[in-house]
Symmetry: C2
Subunit: 255 residues, 2 copies
């Protein structure tokens, strides 16, 4: 299965241009799954709730329609982040879209910094969606910090963790690598590049295999990259003849 990511520098507030950029990147490569950054159709550095509201849409809105069209044209699964309007609430949501439309969504569980003033805390529980025989779990950025979240996905038999991110902080890749190692699950972590309202983003998107090895690591440039890999290897939790990452857990002891 060809899995990968596209990292770029979204233009704040210009959905049209950002969706064009996504289309250009996606169309340039043949892939089964491509992960994009958090809030990549709108930009990230929102300054107030009103401004955020003006950028947010429901997942029946134009943004999802446009990304669905790109997914259909390229016969792939696209995972991207957008501000999701849901009644009076606004979530930072990762949406997975296949050729036939929405496959899943995940509302950021763990808000970081001033997101706490702007967004609502996600209400979606850790859940997987199926795509061409593999099981995928979604996370958004700072969700990386909480092992419980990813463990819950692993215990449901995740083959792949996808983290759509805008890192303003140094720990994301290190911690997603740890999530891959401790759960034996492939991961794709995507960070944007560029500068927005004084905040710099440093890219470095990566794909980690089920034993923690970096299969792809981007630098700080616009790029789209894929690897062709059997992510069902995540189903083998045995490090060796004696050790199994999940059944070795001492649930009789911990809490």
């Amino acid at each position: 299965m060809k899995i990968g990511f596209a990292q770029f520098s979204p233009i704040f507030g210009d959905k049209k241009v950002n969706i064009q950029k996504i289309e250009e990147l996606i169309t340039s490569i043949k892939a089964n799954i491509i992960v994009l950054p958090e809030m990549c159709t709108t930009g990230y550095m929102v300054s107030a709730r009103d401004e955020l509201k003006s950028l947010a849409e429901t997942i029946r809105g134009e943004t999802v329609k446009n990304i669905s069209r790109i997914a259909k044209q390229n016969n792939c699964c696209l995972i991207f982040g957008m501000p999701e309007l849901c009644g009076n609430k606004i979530f930072s949501t990762a949406v997975a879209i296949g050729p036939s439309g929405i496959l899943a969504k995940h509302q950021k569980s763990h808000l970081f910094l001033k997101e706490k003033l702007l967004f609502d805390k996600g209400t979606t529980k850790p859940t997987l969606f199926k795509w061409r025989g593999v099981k995928i779990g979604l996370g958004v950025c700072y969700d990386y910090m909480f092992p419980e979240y990813w463990r819950a996905l692993a215990l449901k038999d995740a083959d792949l963790f996808c983290n759509t991110a805008n890192f303003v902080f140094d720990y994301g890749f290190k911690m997603m690598q740890a999530r891959s190692i401790e759960n034996g699950v492939f991961s794709i972590t995507v960070n944007r590049i560029g500068e927005e309202r004084g905040q710099k983003f440093s890219g470095g998107s990566e794909i980690i295999d089920n034993r923690g090895r970096a299969l792809l690591k981007a630098d700080n440039f616009e790029c789209v990259s894929i690897v062709d890999v059997d992510i069902r290897k995540s189903r083998n939790k045995k490090w060796n003849k004696y050790n199994d990452l999940l059944s070795d857990r001492r649930t009789d002891l911990y809490f």
Copy 2:
């Protein structure tokens, strides 16, 4: 508080020489807490249960008496690993000893490779002991892989994680750093050096602060090293004005 580690190459089966080495190392430095490797009084590469039994002792035995004497002479807390005889069972146990004797013990919860054929699975739950106003949690080697174990210690307000290890595998330091970051807790991870029955050990012992920074990193030589640091900083779980590592957990969502 002066915290540190001593790494060396134990001589297989020669408790007398190993304890002499420990005494020499500990006496050479002034410290409040020193962590030593797993199975460092006996050596590690045991080939059969009978051999292991011949090396194991209860924690009322000569080994603990000797280490207690060294702790008393140096007025410090020593944490080291030994094979513990407990009725018919044998555990790979980390023991913490202060000037007045045993402070705590932890029997390795997660056995690795052929340890599963030799040792019994630990029965001690994640617990802390208090030493000079700080709270310390113990782990042995492969315990690093399981975030639940360290989270349980963090939720009981651990100031310091101490992992006595003999790494035959590459992930230990990376994962203990992740445990420090996700829990906001200082950690000391100690790996032995030398070669034993064909198995090489590469040292690299380290002290990580409550935000994941390496305060000390050893190379592959015999050494004893300390830092003077306020490990009560572990009690501050706030990365910033908005984020708290423990209270940000979405326990309403995970399981």
